[in-house]
């Protein structure tokens, strides 16, 4: 695999701004200690950060303006989404990931945006809003690729929220190293009435640590990930998050086929009495300033990630049908001159904006530390329902052309069905 140099890449994709900010700062060169050890995630005490990521200062006024940094990020990611992800998406959906695409994604170094400076990243604040914007913009390229790209961030954000400082300094530096490291959260379980708050996967104490038993499904990057965050019911204490390395004995990984999201590498994790050390319990041995693990918060933050994906893909649908219906001529004029068509497109725009505002509101409440359980629930309801409607209309408005894979709308249709189903994969 030929890796482009940073400057070549910047030249080719026009990623100058993000490249300047992230790559030329040399963040990738930062940490290599972990890679020498048997595990990437060897303890590295000297890197313990002195402070957790701060919360951004909440503004007083109702405002929908992006910060300068968010706007810059948006511009860069939208271009990456359109120029790079759209081209890679059709093959990736069938499971064939273009190595060139992976190299370009890896060079974006998205993980560094979530990791504190002390651990090799560039993050200063913990911002669910920024994370929602990133997910939205990448899903504008392709939801499957976005999920694959962001799955490691889901785990990183979970650690930023709930891990002890020792855990952060042990696990996070690996994500800023030269080689790209994949990781994913595993919440969903393979039965029809799955409830994120009642997990069948269990963890029991076994003296020096815990033993995990159960099955997880819809786990992104299941074959590529080196580290999993597994949600399991800890006997007597409720749901908890455990870190399980891919090579752990008793862990089986099974790739699966799905309606959509082929690019995300979804599959099952089977845990047949997997032993983990006591230190694998996220937030377990609290160091005083670690907040107690809050499962409801974790689930809600992950729902916002899903909502954000729906926003990006629904926007892609809107832009595509707008162009198509203006170009497509029937009965002597563009089909967009008919109210039946034009109104359907107006409805997409209305519902998408509603989805977006609900998601942003929940994320901004989460960011400032306000309760956001209700807001996340409302956002999820609208994003699941309206997102799917938009996906369906996207195909409908193209007629037969929407049903064949020449256009991306059939792929977006299959992806948008996942919004109501997927849980826990993309914590923001």
């Amino acid at each position: 695999m030929r890796r482009l140099s940073d400057s070549e890449l910047a030249e080719r994709t026009g990623l100058r701004t993000l490249a300047n900010r992230l790559l030329y700062q040399g963040v990738r060169a930062g940490v290599s200690a972990g890679q020498q050890a048997r595990s990437r995630f060897a303890a590295a005490r000297e890197l313990i950060p002195t402070e957790r990521l701060a919360r951004p200062e909440p503004p007083a006024a109702f405002d929908l303006t992006l910060t300068e940094e968010q706007a810059l990020m948006r511009e860069t990611l939208r271009r990456f989404a359109l120029d790079t992800m759209r081209a890679a998406a059709p093959a990736a959906d069938r499971g064939a990931l273009d190595p060139d695409y992976l190299a370009q994604l890896s060079d974006l170094a998205l993980e560094t945006v979530a990791i504190p400076e002390a651990l090799g990243g560039v993050a200063i604040e913990r911002s669910p809003v920024a994370n929602v914007l990133i997910a939205e913009d990448l899903a504008y390229g392709d939801m499957g690729l976005a999920l694959a790209a962001l799955a490691p961030l889901g785990l990183i954000h979970a650690l930023s929220e709930f891990a002890t400082r020792e855990q952060m300094s042990r696990y996070l530096p690996a994500f800023t190293g030269d080689a790209h490291v994949d990781a994913a959260l595993a919440l969903h379980e393979p039965h029809a009435r799955f409830d994120a708050h009642r997990l069948a996967t269990v963890a029991v104490r076994d003296g020096v640590g815990y033993r995990l038993r159960g099955a997880k499904c819809l786990v992104p990057l299941v074959e590529r990930a080196e580290l999993f965050g597994v949600f399991a019911e800890l006997a007597g204490e409720g749901p908890r998050l455990f870190l399980v390395e891919a090579e752990a004995p008793g862990l089986r990984r099974v790739a699966g086929g799905h309606m959509g999201l082929g690019a995300a590498g979804l599959g099952r994790l089977e845990l047949e009495g997997v032993h983990v050390d006591a230190s694998a319990l996220v937030g377990g041995s609290s160091d005083g300033d670690t907040p107690a693990y809050d499962h409801a918060r974790a689930i809600d933050l992950a729902r916002l990630g899903l909502c954000a994906l729906a926003l990006g893909t629904a926007q892609a649908v809107l832009d595509h049908v707008t162009r198509y219906c203006n170009d497509r001529v029937a009965f002597g004029e563009p089909v967009s001159h008919r109210q039946a068509v034009a109104f359907a497109i107006a409805d997409i725009a209305i519902e998408l904006e509603g989805m977006r505002l609900l998601t942003y509101r929940a994320a901004s409440r989460a960011e400032r530390g306000d309760s956001f359980h209700r807001e996340a629930a409302l956002a999820r309801i609208q994003c699941a329902e309206k997102g799917m409607q938009i996906g369906s209309q996207g195909v409908q408005l193209l007629g037969g052309h929407g049903f064949v894979c020449e256009h991306p709308v059939e792929r977006w249709y299959r992806q948008l069905r996942a919004i109501a189903v997927l849980e826990g994969a993309l914590l923001v």
């Binding site: 503004p59 006024a61 405002d63 707008t322 967009s336 109210q339 034009a342 409805d347 505002l357």
Partner: protein, 401 residues
Amino acid sequence: MINLEIPRKLKAVADMAHEIGASLFRPISRKYDRAEHEYPVELDALRSILSGMEDGGATVGAGSIARAEASGEKKIRNGKNMATVLNVIELCWGDLGLMLTIPGQGLGNAAMAAVATAEQKQRFAGKWAAMAITEPDAGSDSASIKTTARLEGDRWVLNGEKIFVTCGARADLIVVWASIDPSRGRAAIKSFVVPRDTPGLTVTRLDHKMGIRASDTAAISLVDCEIPRENLLGSEEINTRKGFAGVMQTFDNTRPSVAAMAIGVARAALERTRELLAAEGVRADYRRDPWESDARAAELYRMEAELEAARLLALKAAWMADNRMPNSTEASMAKAKAGRVGTEITLRCVELCGALGYGDDELLEKWARDAKICDIFEGTQQIQLLIIARRLLGKTSRELR
């Protein structure tokens, strides 16, 4: 920086509006639903309360909508447009019909606030102004109105018939849309301030309506009705490039408020339904997923999501107006969404509460009758979709009809 919470200052004002809705409107809500066409004398007390609130920088009612003043500041403002949306929601949570007939707060006041000269504003200060646009043969197609205004010396002479004039029998002034040259099309349509006691102006009928019965809806006939030349709002010149856009501009500012009306009524219905269902053991407190909940609870969640989406769309449109961003599309989105979910939610609440919902011991059936108008007046659902679609698709009104 993204933040969708209401600033404390505006919340305090909205709390006052809520208090008016709760303690002044609600107790007489059913009374004036039954006593259609009777003037709600209780509202006279509002004149002083509202002027007190407005002195404090707040705005209440449809009439104050277009008064956001220019500001050179770059700072993000949460101003009068947003305050108005928030206040209208609370007042209409109280009662939509009563809110529409608050003395001195007519749609004509909004039009004057948007386009009147300083002299006109001063001359008509303190007056209650209704708005007369619709005619028996011209509704959404307001460019095809047949009412005419003929200049004779220094007087305009108006002739025509107007219907659906909200507050038409109660207001002091009626802002009448009329053509100064029927051969010149929409650009020749101007608006005129006509005092209601002008000879030749007659209220010919008060309509009986499905809902908002506290608000009078009048039919008006104008026969050789003479007004001073200075009562024309805007310019006398027929400018084919932007003439009609001027009179339509009022609606960019009022559409978020109409969305707010629907949101207020729907919230009232949803809250009451939640209470009635709670008494039957239906809990909708977000502890469980919709799919693990009672079907009624799941429906409450779904409706609340629809309502919250509509509310945020209305706030966004108002926020854009406050910050001088063009918001025509967003205003229409807010009205389209709120208009349809307002009707859907209030009707579903009747259904969810069964006999309690349908009977007149509760206000649910009334709210379901009231809400429908919000999807019709100041641009129907279909007109909003046309506006949005033309913008999105880059179409003219000739291409996308």
